[in-house]
């Protein structure tokens, strides 16, 4: 931030505008206006473009609150988000710790890159790859039957656990990344001081390491929870018939049922939930920044 305040040329907004305008105009046209339009459409009975008569209505929101289906599905999606986030913490946090405090030098750099590399590769393809593993007669089934003396049938495909596994696989690198960043910033001498004052490993973990890495944990949790609540492709591919969630219902309104106003209302309710979650997480995140 030092460089920023040192910037001598304070010619202000007028000089900045020509450089800023193209990018922010683009964002306005493709992100902010669409989000506003979505709110607008969610109060309509029909799209004005189809030529059919339309009127303002609260019916789309009434549908959400009167039919328990939507609320149930939203709760199911929130639960899915919570479960996936917890698994990502349980799996990702220890890995981040080992990366930050055990591994050193080149091997740390290489392994860190290997962990976050899949995150930046194609998410759809990674979800699809689990189908090869989880289906009956798939790799997991074949491998377990080759090892075990008795016959078992593993067919996790199209089940709730399959959706969880796929989503955890997709998002755990995020948790490793954010926790690693805060963990490696912890001074080793703090840990040594705690140990030399007689604290056990567990006490140091509970009193020093976890509190200091909390911002990374919260950031990771928010960054995972939010997209998982809005996921639809993962439950569709891995969940099959059991994979009906809030996100898949929104998808249906736009690509199958063509009830766009209802879809817009459902999307907006999801957006509101997401904003509340991000707002709850922001004090912890701001403390980190």
């Amino acid at each position: 931030m030092a460089a920023q305040s040192a910037t001598a040329s304070c010619s202000g907004l007028r000089s900045a505008l020509p450089l800023l305008a193209p990018a922010y105009l683009w964002l306005t046209v493709a992100i902010f206006l669409p989000l506003s339009a979505m709110v607008f459409f969610s109060f309509m009975t029909d799209l004005p473009l189809t030529g059919k008569p339309w009127a303002f209505t609260l019916g789309n929101y009434a549908a959400f609150f009167s039919q328990s289906l939507y609320l149930t599905l939203l709760l199911a999606s929130l639960r899915l988000g919570l479960e996936v986030t917890l698994w990502c913490i349980v799996i990702g946090y220890p890995a981040a710790y080992v990366l930050a405090k055990v591994l050193k030098g080149r091997s740390r750099e290489a392994i860190f890159l290997l962990v976050i590399l899949p995150f930046w590769s194609n998410g759809l393809v990674r979800i699809f790859s689990w189908a090869m593993v989880l289906r009956e007669g798939g790799i997991l089934d074949t491998a377990l039957n080759a090892v075990l003396p008795f016959k078992i049938n593993i067919d996790l495909m199209y089940s709730y656990p399959a959706v969880i596994i796929g989503l955890v696989h997709s998002y755990v690198p995020y948790m490793v990344l954010t926790c690693y960043l805060t963990l490696q910033a912890i001074d080793d001498s703090l840990i040594e001081a705690g140990r030399s004052l007689g604290a056990s490993r567990l006490q140091v973990l509970k009193r020093v390491i976890i509190p200091l890495s909390m911002p990374g944990l919260v950031a990771g949790a928010a960054l995972i929870f939010v997209p998982v609540v809005g996921s639809f492709m993962e439950p569709r591919i891995l969940g099959g018939r059991t994979g009906t969630f809030y996100g898949t219902v929104i998808e249906d309104q736009f690509v199958a049922v063509f009830n766009w106003p209802l879809g817009a209302a459902l999307s907006f309710i999801l957006l509101a939930v997401v904003l509340v979650i991000l707002a709850l997480a922001s004090p912890v995140l701001r403390r980190a920044a």
Binding site: P34, W120, L124, W130, G137, G138, P227
Partner: protein, 262 residues
């Protein structure tokens, strides 16, 4: 201490298991794309038949070209617009700057399902409709915040005195930018461009809502194929995609330190 060594050994083992969890499905998918059996049956028999048949699939090839074109145009536009915006945010102080910086986060943080459906409604409403142009509009908007964040991070390491020096030696604003500032932040600009390419090339959700049957991208085509049923052809094209996108990110890592250690 013996306990420490044991714990460290367990830690290494744990990381190895995590890497296995992350990579095994992808490796298995890739292997199955070279397997003879169309029903993924073992024992494994080597073939490149599925890759050969990709060449006959005109729909997939057309979608691949669309994906590449859109990713390249997205990269060019978002790098130019994004770098310009980063420079402005770096150089000038003005009211509302914090707001503009904060506005970069909604496109990243809001789930693509919401952004994608909102774009569909709005583009339909204003007459842009669906198709490749709409997809391009959306992709640039998704890529811009990443470019601005990455280039701004690089600009933080730039000393403004260098610009001052060039100016006092008689260089005009354009010369200062092109000859002094841009070379310094080039690695950030390249990393931002690679991010933009990856965001666009791997983008599924937004493309999905904005595509029409004739005008579609590769991930959308693959999703449609997966929902019809699994075939080794999907494995083959998926393997190509994952190799391309991982290679891209390795390249990005050369220009951008993810770990923030330096």
């Amino acid at each position: 201490m013996a306990t420490t060594r044991i714990l460290e050994g367990l830690g290494r083992l744990y990381i190895f298991l995590l890497l296995a969890f992350l990579y095994l499905p992808i490796i298995i998918m890739a292997l199955m794309s070279f397997n003879v059996s169309p029903f993924y049956q073992l024992p494994f028999e080597w073939t490149t038949e599925w890759y050969a048949s990709l060449w006959q699939n005109d729909q997939l090839i057309a979608a691949t070209w669309n994906s590449l074109e859109i990713a390249i145009i997205t990269t060019l536009i978002s790098v130019v617009l994004g770098s310009a915006a980063s420079l402005a945010l770096y150089r000038y102080e003005f009211r509302g700057k914090k707001v503009l910086q904060a506005l970069l986060f909604p496109p990243i943080a809001i789930p693509w399902l919401i952004t994608g459906t909102a774009m569909l409604i709005f583009f339909f409403g204003v007459g842009i409709g669906r198709g490749l142009f709409a997809i391009l509009l959306g992709h640039v908007a998704l890529a811009l915040p990443y470019v601005i964040v990455v280039v701004s991070a690089r600009l933080q390491t730039f000393a403004p005195e260098l610009e001052e020096a060039a100016r006092s030696l008689g260089a005009n604003q354009w010369q200062v930018t092109m000859r002094v500032t841009l070379p310094w932040i080039m690695s950030g600009v390249i990393a931002g461009g690679l991010f933009a390419f990856a965001v666009s090339f791997d983008q599924f959700v937004v493309s999905y809502f904005l595509s029409t049957p004739g005008q579609t991208t590769l991930p959308v085509e693959i999703y449609a194929a997966i929902r019809k049923g699994f075939t080794p052809e999907i494995n083959a094209v998926s393997t190509i995609i994952i190799v391309v996108s991982m290679a891209l990110m390795l390249l990005t890592a050369r220009f951008f330190k993810f770990g923030g250690e330096k």
